[in-house]
Amino acid sequence: MDVVVCTKYVPTETTLGPDHLVVRSGVDGMLDPGDEYGLELALQLTERHGGEVAVVSMGPGEAGTAIQRALAMGAQRGIHVVDPALRGADALVTSRVLAAAIGRAPFDLVVAGVESTDGYTGTVPVTVAELLGLPSVTAIRSLEPSDGGARIERMTEGGFDVYETPLPVVVTVTAGAVEPRYPSLKGIMQAKQKPIERASLADLGIDDVTTTQRVTSVSDAPAKQGGEVVQGDEAVPRIVDLLAEAKVI
């Protein structure tokens, strides 16, 4: 089973620059922890059923470290799409880039995390699926190949649903579905020998990367009416009032 895992390089501490864009260059970053679940699932699948895990990531030069970590965990090769024109790219551009990168080689499965921990948009994987003309199942907790397709368990609010789908398919994996392995030092050393292909927009045949969203202002949220401490008789009514106000009861 050949699997492509989408990974994102996220800053360790998310901050906005003067242009209201997330600062990604020149700061410490890491492989998005949410992506590790998908990566782990992919590694376990190929360990059980054979095949290769390739990792795709779009990001600045530093994003290579995220791919390195994925390789250290066991992925076989990486594709790093880097191009100065991609700075500040939005979900649509990202989806087009990833779809183009993924589509260049045959695969059985595309895996991603449910949402990135620095953006929380969560739609890129399905947009990629649509661009590639593939089915998708999001928020899954398990996947097993069966009869030329796959049997998938997807988390729902009240439990889980079971899906059947032909391959290839795009899936996003929920946190906690699997326990991501901690890369051993041996893995880190071996990762240095694994190939990482660098691709630019020209390589992918994409020319339009206009971003269609702009943050026009950033301001502090209204200070929470918090920090109140109460005692005695008013405690219970106040708590229940708060619950009501939060619309949970």
């Binding site: 947009t127 998708s136 009240g158 439990g159 398919v169 950033v218 708590i239 009501a244 949970v248 009861i249």
Partner: protein
């Protein structure tokens, strides 16, 4: 001036509450609003959708939308969008709606904004970032329609519409566009929501003194829909509850609407697992406990009295 589409999640029980909220968001645009309801229960939901502001409801009860949750809906919606050229399509920020929205974006090539808390017009929306401490205003450019995903509970649903015109939609979905198929559904009744997904998390710490007191928290959780019980590391280490309850640095991170901490001191190790909660209520008998400083509502008192009393009060208010 065009119109606004609202993608309304529906079921046999009617429209999901968040769909009605979307209509309230769209009301502010001052333009005709059409709801798109796809799946079993769609036509029956039309009335409620109309009452909440939809002028038109494009409906199809075809089971294909329930059996294949995202692709057929996106396909049909894309067709409607192509035919009617709305200025904006509003979705709920839920797993199911998000899947449809993402696919729609691939077809329309237009911009998509997620996690919005308000949308003033098809080209301007607002979101909160960094744990709710910062507010960003966003301008949406590019071709129409813009796609905006709104967080549940960011607005109150409002009645005040009339009758909606129901337009039957042809669910002619080609086989190769159906995608994954649901073959089994499993509702786990007893366990309630998972900690990570629960709207309300009630967590117990060392102050509970033992495993028995967790029954009090279970009672409280049972009185609230979508509540789950968790614990601090201290309670797990003491063996009172299993590790799956643990919230904190070496446990789960939760971001519920309300986090109720009972008998938890609030050391950083725990705080990192729950400080993203929208509202924090803390009950502790120690007035110097750090958690009281980080709570929206801190209560100095005896949890053994307070927790049952809260459960009582909730039931009383529910009853009435």
């Amino acid at each position: 001036m065009g119109d606004a589409f609202v993608y309304a999640e529906v079921s046999a029980e009617g429209p999901k509450p968040v769909a009605l909220e979307l209509l309230a968001h769209a009301r502010g645009f001052g333009m005709p609003v059409a709801a798109v309801a796809l799946g079993p229960g769609a036509t029956d939901s039309a009335r409620a959708l109309g009452e909440h502001g939809a002028g038109t409801v494009y409906a199809s009860d075809d089971p294909v939308f329930a059996d294949h949750p995202d692709r057929p809906a996106a396909h049909v919606l894309a067709g409607l969008v192509a035919d009617h050229a709305p200025d904006v399509v509003l979705f709920a920020q839920t797993y199911d709606s998000r899947d449809v929205a993402g696919r729609l974006q691939a077809r329309t090539g237009s911009t998509l904004m997620a996690n919005a808390t308000a949308v003033s017009d098809p080209r301007h929306a607002r979101a909160e970032i960094f744990g709710g401490t910062q507010v960003v205003e966003v301008e949406l450019d590019g071709p129409s329609p813009t796609i905006v995903l709104l967080r549940p509970k960011s607005i109150a649903a409002e009645r005040g519409g009339g009758d909606a015109e129901v337009v039957e939609v042809d669910a002619d979905v080609p086989d190769d566009v159906r995608g994954a198929r649901v073959v089994e559904r499993h509702e786990e009744q007893a366990s309630g929501p998972r900690l990570e997904d629960a709207k309300v998390v009630i967590a117990g710490g060392r102050g509970l003194g033992g495993p028995d007191a967790f029954a009090l928290l279970d009672e409280l959780a049972a009185s609230i829909d979508g509540a789950a019980v968790g614990a601090s590391r201290a309670a797990v280490d003491a063996g009172w509850v299993p590790y799956s309850y643990q919230i904190g640095q070496t446990g789960k991170t939760v971001k519920p609407e309300v986090y109720v901490a009972a008998g938890i001191s609030g050391a950083l190790q725990h705080a990192v697992g729950m400080k993203g909660a929208r509202r924090i209520v803390a009950i502790n008998k120690d007035p110097d406990a750090p958690i009281l400083a980080m709570a929206d509502l801190g209560v100095v008192g005896d949890l053994f009295q307070l927790v049952p009393a809260i459960t009582e009060e909730i039931r009383r208010r529910r009853g009435s």
